[in-house]
């Protein structure tokens, strides 16, 4: 507090949180701490329907002079007149900035760098996430002082809630006329989960003054590729090599080393252009490792996956974890896994109708039971006949057509844009059917685009239109708008 100020003035604190994040708890601790020190404090909030996952502002004013005379405290923050803004999440920090609550002349901004993704970000068909870097840069520009850390993670590690961590950061900011011990005493007085809260408080207190941690770089190459692939890989440009190595590793994991060799042979057609090669390598590996029932079963039964699940659900050593899969293989997926002729027959025959009837509903399989595990183990064995399967034949033809398309255009940007269209082909079941139909629609427009100066840009726009909604409406409009 600036003790040189001529007249006493309220210290204003705005807390931006989402429903259920404990913004109210944080406000209560502040009230308790101030009243315990004999100061006037006022707090308000507008929860309303925001209790149900919306954004909420809690607003607290503490009057730093002794309580002899009652001050008039405001019920809402005036933009530009806020001393401390606490944001439980990075986009909420952005919202505080947007509302003008954070000003370089005055405001200490305490922002947790974790993200709670918005509905728009989550429901996007590809990557709809906003740019955290921009949010952080904005925070730096807007605040007089910025304290950031991943307070959500800190709280989680301490087995507490983010409000406790943010309270620790507030103590570290040294912006209120209280000592650390006062903050901790307020937490103790509240009496609920005190030890865990104080743990998170202490961690956050230390982290708040440290600044954001550097992100580790994750482009390391995979380990342990078969030696006989090395010379072929070494022939590619250095820029593309890490991706190609990842591609090989994926295909060996998916099928075997000879499948990886097929991958390398296909890539040799693109050995010139580094950037195009990288993208083709990436997308080709993904296409060649298309998802079928054998692959799904294979991934579900591995030990590493069992361990990952236990970790994800935070099972303790003395707890038992049972895993149940939600699978819905349909006639198409079953026929796909069969040898090509048999698969085609099944799709046409009475037996197919029977299978269809048997697979109208999804199944749950308990992978941790012996029966369930064996079922998936045997299914994963279909990998051995994969090269003769119906789906394999279909996919290899599609892949070759796609590769030929990329090679057929002279415009390198367009070639890259075609390669990127593989992004549309993903998944399994309905998602795959819809994605591949979109891919075909985009590729069908290619002859009308090729040769135009902005061909690559137009194709990318079509690809993005396909990802804009899952009814295909935007793509239809976009293709219709193409000049004939």
């Amino acid at each position: 507090m600036d003790s040189a100020a001529p007249a006493p003035k309220a210290i204003s604190i705005a807390i931006l949180a989402m429903g259920g994040e404990g913004g109210g708890v944080l406000a209560d601790w502040l009230i308790d701490m101030a009243e315990h020190a004999g100061l006037y404090v006022q707090a308000t909030s507008v929860p309303g329907v925001a209790q149900r996952t919306g954004a909420t502002i809690y607003y607290v004013e503490i009057f730093p002079a002794s309580a002899a005379r009652q001050p008039v405290l405001a019920l809402m923050p005036v933009p530009g007149d806020v001393d401390v803004v606490i944001a439980s999440e990075l986009m909420e920090a952005g919202r505080a900035i947007q509302r003008g609550l954070v000003t370089p002349a005055r405001t200490t901004l305490i922002a947790s760098t974790n993200r709670v993704y918005s509905m728009t970000e989550r429901t996007a068909m590809a990557d709809g996430r906003v740019d955290s870097g921009k949010l952080l840069d904005g925070a730096k520009a807007a605040a007089k002082r910025l304290l950031t850390a991943n307070f959500a993670e800190i709280a989680e590690k301490s087995g507490s809630v983010i409000s406790a961590a943010l309270f620790g950061a507030l103590a570290a900011s040294d912006r209120l006329p209280f000592q650390r011990a006062d903050f901790e005493a307020a937490v103790r007085r509240s009496g609920l989960g005190v030890e865990a809260s104080l743990g998170a408080f202490a961690q956050a207190f230390a982290a708040a003054t440290g600044g954001p941690a550097a992100k580790p770089d994750e482009t390391a190459s995979p380990q342990g590729l078969p030696a006989n692939l090395h010379p072929a890989i070494a022939a590619f440009s250095a820029e593309a090599r890490p991706t190609i190595e990842h591609g090989c590793a994926r295909l060996i994991d998916y099928q075997d080393a000879s499948y990886a060799r097929l991958y390398l042979e296909r890539l040799q057609r693109f050995s010139g252009n580094g950037r195009l090669l990288t993208e083709v390598a990436r997308h080709l590996a993904l296409w060649m490792s298309y998802e079928d029932i054998a692959r799904v079963a294979d991934l579900k039964i591995r030990r590493s996956r069992f361990d990952r699940v236990s970790e994800e659900v935070r099972a303790k050593d003395d707890q038992i974890v049972r895993i149940r899969e939600y699978l819905h293989p349909r006639l198409q997926e079953i026929a796909d896994a069969m040898p090509a002729n048999l698969g085609r027959w099944l799709l046409r025959s009475w037996a197919g109708k029977l299978v269809q009837r048997l697979t109208t509903n999804g199944r749950t399989v308990e992978t941790t039971s012996i029966g369930g595990f064996l079922l998936l183990y045997l299914t994963s064995g279909l990998r051995r006949i994969r090269p003769r399967s119906l789906r394999y034949q279909v996919e290899q033809v599609r892949i070759e057509a796609w590769l030929a398309e990329i090679r057929s255009v002279r415009d390198p940007d367009l070639a890259l844009a075609i390669a990127e269209c593989q992004q549309l082909v993903k998944g399994y079941g309905d998602t795959h059917t819809r994605g591949f139909a979109n891919y075909e629609a985009v590729m069908a427009a290619l002859p009308r685009i090729a040769g135009k100066p902005d061909a690559a840009e137009r194709l990318s726009k079509l690809r993005q239109a396909a990802l804009a909604d899952d009814s295909g409406g935007k793509l239809k409009t976009a293709t219709a708008e193409l000049a004939p």
Binding site: K134, G138, T219
Partner: protein, 718 residues
């Protein structure tokens, strides 16, 4: 009982004379009622006054000691009609609801009450849900006060003033034989502050005395000729009595009188915002000592002409700070000054906003403009940056950050049982095409927002089916779907929707969302709640009620998470050859309240060594397509995205956060919509039995053996 306890808050109601009360504004009102000798309290819950009801629910013992009757009214109309007890008997009564929606519902009873007038003090406490965070249409309670001539109090938003308004309100009501409305804005209801308590007072006249000594007075009943007499009474005796009382008791306040030849007239509720604006402009200190004269209307209806004339006389200009529109007070101000031939210029919505909440920023800038225009010498030489115009341009980095901010509209909670109903509707829409959907008020209205985008209109609480009444062409190839919550159903929907549909022979579909609580208002119990309630009779079946008014096609679904079942019953309702109204009752307990109930029980069970199975869902990132169909069909807050750990793929993958409560919807959706096979359910068994351990041991042996083989194959391939 509702799952949240207010016992701690209830204890504050016991504070005696001289003790200091610390707490929320709406609790201060509750305490003030008891200090005023109230004989009965009723109301209908809703933000921001729910806590008044909740705390009284948990204060049964205190109310019993004091002899105060408390009711959870069936609707706001019921609540308002409850005040009839104060018509003939000297009983103080108070009712409360959310405004203006609740006042809309209550207005029939309020108009009748106000016409005949009251003997005992009648207080209507309305939570004015206006501005930021509001969930209703933006209107003013002021209009209701004016049309029925109910006095309207709008006290300064600090606890001592609010408490005083309750006490004064009862007296004002009794002196003028008129009901009094106490208006509290959202922030005032939730403001934490303090006041010095008084002892609670037992009502001087009791409900029992009234019942045992009935009084009737036909002149108090709205029927000619008495109704004409009432209007005359209002004008000739009640109004003047009220104005006299307001003046004598100085309910309105004057600050900084004589300090300048301009002034500000304001609603009491605006006081703190105005005081802060003046402080920023160096025209007041932190204690509210103002260098600009203020006339604070703690009673905003009726206006006291003499006070207005006195304040304006000798002033060149006044600013009227009146939140909301139309500008009833500003218009009245013009009329009063015109009649008095006072030339004081009136500013108001010319320098402030025409409509919308009067936030700190709006008021600060409005006052600065007003003073700039009328008495610029009062302003500091340099206007503080935050009040200056034009606003400073934003730094590019700040502007860039702002583009990254999405709105966060409210949505269904994690594990909400209402979500699958709309997921099922989405799936039906895929098969049968879109239908006209008429919505209601309640959490289920979130269906109109992403990701569901379902619903065409909403006409008010309980009016979901009524809102589709006209769309009843028997030749249509498509039926309409209406949605109604259990809260709205008991509020009025049984008659206004279901009865109406039966009587008018509709052929359409109603989905009643029955989650055991009025969830949107804070999880209070209602008629059909499953819980045992010591104070109320719960467990009254919606199905029996629906059948009772003549619906024969009724399908209860007791587990809404079964998407396939939900989908099939909806399809059946939309396509069946059977004519007549069709009602689906979708029942599953509100997850927010279920968790409040169940969580502590489970925690204790684990602590006591009992076997407890926790279920939660997860996503395998390696089979997740990154298409996020699952989220578009769910929108569950626990189902989110994370950076793809796969170095080859860029699109983020789905992930289930630890807040997952294992409701099962994710799995059901991936089955019903044939999504990717990434979802798994994990059952985590705490304190396993010897049998659990034995089974797990055998399984680990067999599975481990096979997993070793897989690992050997993978190792040899590379």
């Amino acid at each position: 009982m509702a799952e949240r306890s207010f016992k701690k808050e209830a204890e504050k109601l016991r504070l005696g004379a001289g003790e200091e009360f610390h707490g929320e504004g709406i609790l201060a009102v509750t305490k003030a009622l008891l200090q005023s000798g109230v004989a009965y309290v009723a109301g209908y819950q809703g933000a921001p006054i729910s806590h008044l009801m909740d705390v009284l629910t948990d204060s049964a013992d205190i109310l019993k000691e004091l002899g105060v009757h408390f009711e959870h009214s069936a609707s706001e109309a019921t609540a308002a009609a409850t005040l009839a007890a104060s018509v003939n008997y000297p009983l103080r009564g108070a009712v409360t609801f959310k405004s203006t929606v609740g006042t809309n519902v209550a207005s029939d009873a309020l108009a009748n009450l106000a016409s005949g007038g009251v003997t005992g003090g009648a207080l209507v406490i309305v939570g004015e849900d206006y501005g930021e965070g509001s969930s209703i249409m933006q209107e003013r309670s002021h209009a209701f006060a004016m049309k029925s001539q109910i006095w309207l109090m709008d006290p300064r938003p600090n606890l001592p003033s609010i408490v005083k308004a309750v006490e004064d309100g009862f007296e004002l009501s009794e002196v003028s034989r008129t009901p009094v409305m106490l208006e509290l804005r959202i922030r005032a209801c939730h403001v934490h502050g303090r006041f010095t308590a008084k002892d609670n007072v037992r009502p001087g006249f009791t409900l029992r005395q009234a019942m045992e000594n009935p009084v009737r007075d036909t002149s108090r009943i709205v029927l000619p000729p008495a109704s004409y007499l009432h209007e005359k009474e209002k004008i000739e005796s009640r109004w003047p009595a009220a104005v006299r009382f307001i003046q004598e008791r100085q309910l309105n306040e004057f600050f900084g009188e004589g300090s300048a030849d301009i002034g500000i007239i304001l609603q009491g509720g605006m006081y703190n915002t105005v005081a802060r604006a003046l402080e920023i402009l160096a025209l007041a200190d932190a204690y509210g000592e103002s260098r600009v004269p203020l006339y604070v209307m703690n009673v905003t209806y009726p206006l006291v002409d003499d006070e207005i004339k006195r304040f304006c006389a000798g002033k060149r200009a006044v600013l009227m700070v009146e939140e909301g529109q139309p500008d009833f007070i500003e218009q009245a101000l013009h009329a009063i000054l015109r009649k008095a031939d006072l030339q004081t210029k009136v500013h108001g919505k010319d320098v402030l906003l025409k409509g919308g909440e009067y936030t700190g920023d709006v008021v600060l800038r409005g006052i600065r403009r007003f003073i700039e225009q009328t008495a610029p010498s009062l302003l500091p030489a340099v206007i503080p940056q935050i009040a200056a115009e034009p606003r400073q341009p934003k730094a590019p980095a700040i502007a860039a950050a702002e583009t990254q901010v999405h709105p966060r509209p409210p949505s269904f909670c994690t594990g909400c049982p209402e979500r699958p109903i709309f997921t099922a509707m989405k799936l039906v829409e895929r098969e049968l095409g879109p239908h006209h959907v008429s919505c209601d008020i309640g959490c289920h209205l979130f269906s109109i927002l992403p990701p569901f985008n379902i619903g065409a209109s909403t006409m008010g609480y309980g009016l979901g089916w009524a809102g589709a009444a006209a769309l009843n062409d028997q030749n249509s190839s498509k039926r309409t779907i209406s949605v109604m919550g259990d809260g709205g159903f008991w509020h009025n929907g049984l008659a206004s929707g279901v009865g109406n549909a039966v009587f008018n022979q509709t052929d359409n579909v109603l989905v009643i969302v029955d989650n055991n609580y009025t969830a949107a208002t804070g999880g209070q119990d209602i008629m059909s709640s499953k819980a045992e309630n010591m104070l109320r009779k719960t467990q009254n079946s919606i199905e029996s009620a629906v059948r009772g008014v003549g619906v024969t096609w009724v399908r209860p679904i007791t587990h809404t998470y079964s998407i396939a079942k939900m989908r099939d019953v909806l399809k059946e309702a939309l396509t069946t050859k059977v004519k007549g109204p069709k009602v689906i009752i979708a029942q599953s307990e509100c997850m927010l309240n279920k968790q409040r109930r169940v969580r502590p029980l489970l925690r204790d069970a684990i602590k006591n060594g009992q076997r407890v199975v926790r279920e939660r869902f997860g996503v395998d990132h390696d089979t997740c397509t990154g298409d996020h169909s699952c989220m578009r069909l769910s929108g569950c807050p626990s189902l989110s995205v994370k950076t793809n750990p796969d170095p080859l793929r860029k699109d983020p993958v789905a992930t289930v956060l630890d807040s997952c409560v294992g409701c099962g919807l994710c799995g059901e959706v991936s089955h019903a919509a044939v999504l990717c096979p990434s979802f798994y359910r994990a059952d985590i068994i705490s304190n396993p039995t010897w049998w659990d351990r034995l089974v797990a041991g055998v399984r680990a042996k067999v599975i481990g053996f096979l997993q070793d083989r897989i690992e050997r194959r993978l190792a040899s391939a590379s």
